[in-house]
Symmetry: C2
Subunit: 195 residues, 2 copies
DNA sequence: CGTCTATTTGAATGTACTCAAAAGCGGTGG
DNA sequence: CCACCGCTTTTGAGTACATTCAAATAGACG
């Protein structure tokens, strides 16, 4: 079950892990399953884990002053997700993470995270590279949010994440793109009529 | 002149650097100055460096299909800035970085970056933590972009970066917030009349 | 003082929004 | 198997807010 985790790490750091490295890391994690719509992280409570999705999916969102939800990240199989600020700082989470389907995750707490970084140098590297990638991706997304219209953003999203379209409801994709579900519906209609 | 760099790194990793560690790192960097409005990084060309601002300021932006600029990041003294995707991958940059004032930077190229990570473990950690912070900050900014109105974003920006208000022209702040300069002008007028 | 750039203001426009309702879709139980 | 229920998506009509275009004012710099 953790083969996908091993592949994920090896792919990121660019070399195979020794069994010792990998087993040491695995000993710091544990597996858990959540029902559909269960909360992995709740706003206001400390987020004590970082999660690696083995099976199923979940997503993070922020709630605004009107109670509306705004999707931030979707995590399907082989994605990592957390409220990183809360996880690192121990402050209450400002995001929620909720199962989108029944989901099985590997969980790593802060002590485990720090041990991994301290004791297994390749894991410090792994998290560094992972962070770099995540940063590059989200910076690009922000740049596009501020510079291109919703239709182009949806088009790019569709090409970049065709798998997401199959498994994530449209109203959450709209929210991820920073628009209302009605607007996305109209955009799709418009795009369909062009082709 | 590099005292500020040392302080920046020590603050991030949470312990003093040995002279050996710091000097080894410094040997990988060099200092350079740019005139106001000079380009440190140009869209389409590979970004070969990551920059640490010693004196002055610069900012990164993306250009849209109408030729309009959208500010992404401002870098004053003690900030790091780069087109990280281009720097890491060697692909052409999609952002520009331009001096906002005459600016003096320390420059670290990819080989230097990799050597630092490989040879001085604390630098792997430094970049990991720096990336974490940058990711947390930009994720928060994206979340707010999608969930609160421009007036609140400006208000938060003012409180978070009062120093920026002094040194960065308003039309760039507007662009950073994802709105037009005229709109920011009206927002400020509105806010002034409330108090 | 004059030029260039940045900011403010006004008026008209347009894009995405809200509110509201209908249609579609899936699952459950009679 | 079909009827019903809850949830998602679509559609329509009116609205609101940021935008565009245009011009005036203010500031910075040589």
């Amino acid at each position: 079950m953790t083969a996908s985790l091993r592949a994920n790490i090896e792919h990121t750091v660019g070399r195979p892990l020794s069994d010792e490295e990998f087993n040491t890391f695995c000993a710091l994690t544990f597996e858990k399953s959540f029902d559909n719509k269960a909360h992995l992280v709740e706003e206001g409570k400390v987020c004590r884990y970082t999660y690696f999705v083995l099976q199923g999916s979940c997503y993070s969102y922020i709630t605004d002053e009107h109670g509306d939800k705004h999707a931030l990240q979707f995590a399907l199989e082989n994605y990592w997700i957390s409220d990183l600020y809360s996880f690192i700082s121990g402050q209450p989470a400002i995001y929620n993470i909720e199962a989108l389907e029944p989901v099985t995750v590997l969980m790593l707490n802060k002590e485990g995270f720090q041990k991994a970084c301290d004791l297994i140098p390749i894991f410090e590297r792994f998290f560094r590279i992972q962070m770099q990638r995540a940063y590059v991706a989200i910076q690009y997304r922000l740049a596009k949010t501020n510079s291109v219209d919703a239709e182009s953003r949806y088009e790019e999203f569709s090409h970049l994440h065709p798998d997401f379209l199959q498994r994530i409801p449209q109203y959450l994709i709209a929210s991820y793109l920073g628009i209302k579900p009605q607007s996305l519906s109209r955009i799709r209609k418009e795009m369909a009529s062009k082709k």
